[in-house]
């Protein structure tokens, strides 16, 4: 995995994009950078085309719901196959009518991943060529991975669910 000590990516992003970088942390063997949603495309394009980094491989993309903060996050995980560095980029958006920029213009692989994230979290990716549900049925009217849909049957009255509930 990434050699965190020598990785210049975070300092480069701070120099180049300054205000658009909202936070950074280290989680196990990853640098995690939180950026402003409006600058996401610029940052990914720069990381893609800059020969020093060339993050040209999108490993994965996932939505996360934080109902207590009324927020959603989208996580993008990049991999540079030339220098074998990995990087995680996050954006935070409101969980009421969430929208995020689509990165399908940079990575074709993001197409289905964004459709899946839309399908389960309802995040609308602006600029996506074909944003439809992918794994669930088309006429479903809710987004099942959101935290307001617990798995256990909520009508049960025979037991207190504190021990097992989230």
């Amino acid at each position: 995995m990434t050699d965190l000590a020598t990785d210049r990516t975070v300092s480069f992003l701070n120099e180049k994009f300054g205000d658009a970088i909202l936070g950074q942390e280290t989680q196990y063997d990853f640098h995690v950078v939180t950026v402003m949603p409006s600058h996401l495309i610029d940052i990914l394009k720069e990381l893609y085309s800059n020969p020093e980094f060339s993050y040209q491989y999108l490993t994965t993309l996932a939505g996360i719901h934080y109902p207590l903060d009324q927020k959603m996050a989208v996580m993008y995980q990049l991999h540079s196959l030339t220098s074998n560095q990995r990087l995680r980029i996050k954006i935070y958006i409101s969980d009421d009518q969430p929208t995020a920029p689509s990165i399908t213009s940079i990575f074709k692989a993001a197409n289905w991943l964004e459709r899946e994230t839309y399908d389960f979290y309802g995040i609308v990716f602006e600029g996506h060529p074909d944003l439809r549900r992918i794994l669930n049925v088309d006429d479903m009217i809710f987004f099942p991975m959101r935290k307001e849909f617990p798995l256990e049957d909520q009508t049960r009255e025979d037991k207190e669910d504190e021990m097992f509930g989230r």
Partner: protein
């Protein structure tokens, strides 16, 4: 919260001459797709003009279920992703949790895991390749190799008691050491399988009909493959030597000497050849692991996460407490985000896990290689015939369980 969804329409443009084209449904339950997924193809005579994959027929909401399961109960869910090589998924998940709790895993366990993961890779590749041969009309080789899949499953049975959905091992190691029967079955497999594989290669590899059917079929360039985030044999067939086992070694893969086979053209034949050569490399890794296998325990010393022996539970109070806490899923885990990836049979199988310190994951995402590379399929088969489209799908090794999660 506003839950009204907008309806998004299919934005595929209408093609000129559309009224002369016919629509063909390949699937959802077609024997040639080897799984439940559908392709709606627009055909101009024999040629495919456009194809629209519809997936999700066996979606089982594993990511949602995982948000309510204690960590050790998520292993059976991973079985059902790529069910042709379940041990890789199981062990990949165990390693993710071990990374989260920063457990120290003894060498012997790492080597045993390598043996099982490579065995799983062999069984997965042999199914893919022999079924590809069946799809071209060569049934014999399939029968030759399937006998050895059976023998490999008997090894799983000795190790964990199950065959297909293995639920193999525990967080921190294995529930028991390999039995003498497991070792002798492994030896039997390693003795017999190379002979069968040689015979299979003699039948298929330079077979004129097979070569004519597969060379130049379903090509994809390295650039496109990378942009589509291909991984595993499908990426290596295009000439990119990306293998997680070498780039980010896990479970002591750096101790073994093996090659990464790469192809050149990224066509069906290259994918076949890459898998074929990988099987030989896997056999060599298994042999090296058996030869170098160190002595030691079969599980790590992590009493908070690894069940104590039953004898202890009845006679020792600490063991009883740990037993109870583990079974109830109340073992403490640190807060954090961890991503761990292993080289699955189809490519980079990743587990992105967010823990908030609770008994279950806050969020768990499986990076399923099938799901990511299958989206390139319409582009790969555009302009080809139906029979070639079948071979392309077969050689990509699309497993419905992994596709739909």
């Amino acid at each position: 919260m506003n839950l009204v969804t907008e309806t998004f329409k299919n934005t595929n443009p209408t093609l000129p001459g559309e009224e002369n084209y016919s629509t063909l449904n390949l699937g959802p339950t077609h024997p040639a797709t080897h799984g439940i997924f559908q392709n709606v193809m627009t055909m101009d005579g024999e040629r495919i003009v456009r194809s629209e994959p519809t997936i999700g027929y066996i979606h089982r909401a594993f990511e949602k279920i995982a948000e309510r399961r204690p960590y050790y109960q998520i292993t059976p869910l991973t079985d059902r992703l790529n069910y042709c090589s379940a041990p890789i998924n199981n062990i990949g998940w165990h390693m993710t949790v071990e990374k989260l709790i920063q457990a120290d895993i003894p060498k012997r366990i790492q080597y045993l895991r390598v043996i099982l993961m490579e065995l799983a890779r062999v069984t997965d590749h042999l199914i893919c390749n022999s079924v590809l041969a069946v799809d071209t009309g060569a049934l014999t080789g399939f029968i030759y190799l399937f006998e050895y899949r059976e023998l490999a499953y008997e090894i799983y049975e000795e190790v964990c008691g199950a065959r297909l959905t293995t639920n193999m091992g525990r967080i921190g190691g294995f529930e028991r050491d390999f039995t003498p029967a497991a070792w002798s079955k492994l030896e039997k497999f390693l003795k017999g399988f190379p002979i069968a594989l040689k015979e299979f290669e003699k039948l298929i590899m330079r077979n004129r009909i097979f070569m004519d059917r597969t060379i130049g079929v379903g090509e994809i360039t390295a650039k496109d493959a990378l942009n589509y985030s291909f991984s595993g044999p499908n990426l290596r067939a295009t000439g990119v030597d990306y293998d997680v086992r070498v780039m980010n070694p896990y479970s002591s893969y750096q101790d073994f000497d093996f090659k990464i086979p790469v192809g050149e053209n990224g066509d069906t034949y290259d994918r076949f050849m890459v898998r074929q050569r990988e099987m030989w490399e896997s056999l060599s890794i298994i042999r090296q692991a058996i030869d170098k296998l160190p002595e030691g325990p079969f599980h790590a010393t992590i009493p908070k996460h690894y069940l104590p022996p039953k004898e202890e539970v009845y006679n020792n109070m600490e063991a009883l407490i740990y037993h109870f806490k583990i079974v109830m899923g109340e073992s403490d885990v640190p807060k954090g985000e961890v991503y761990h990836c292993v080289e699955g049979a189809n490519g980079e199988l990743g587990f992105y896990l967010i823990s908030d310190g609770g008994r279950t994951p806050y969020r768990l995402q499986f990076r399923r290689p099938c799901f990511i590379y299958y989206q390139a399929y319409p582009e790969m088969i555009k302009g080809s015939t139906i029979s070639d489209a079948i071979l392309t799908m077969s050689s990509m090794n699309v497993i419905a369980g992994e596709l739909d999660a």
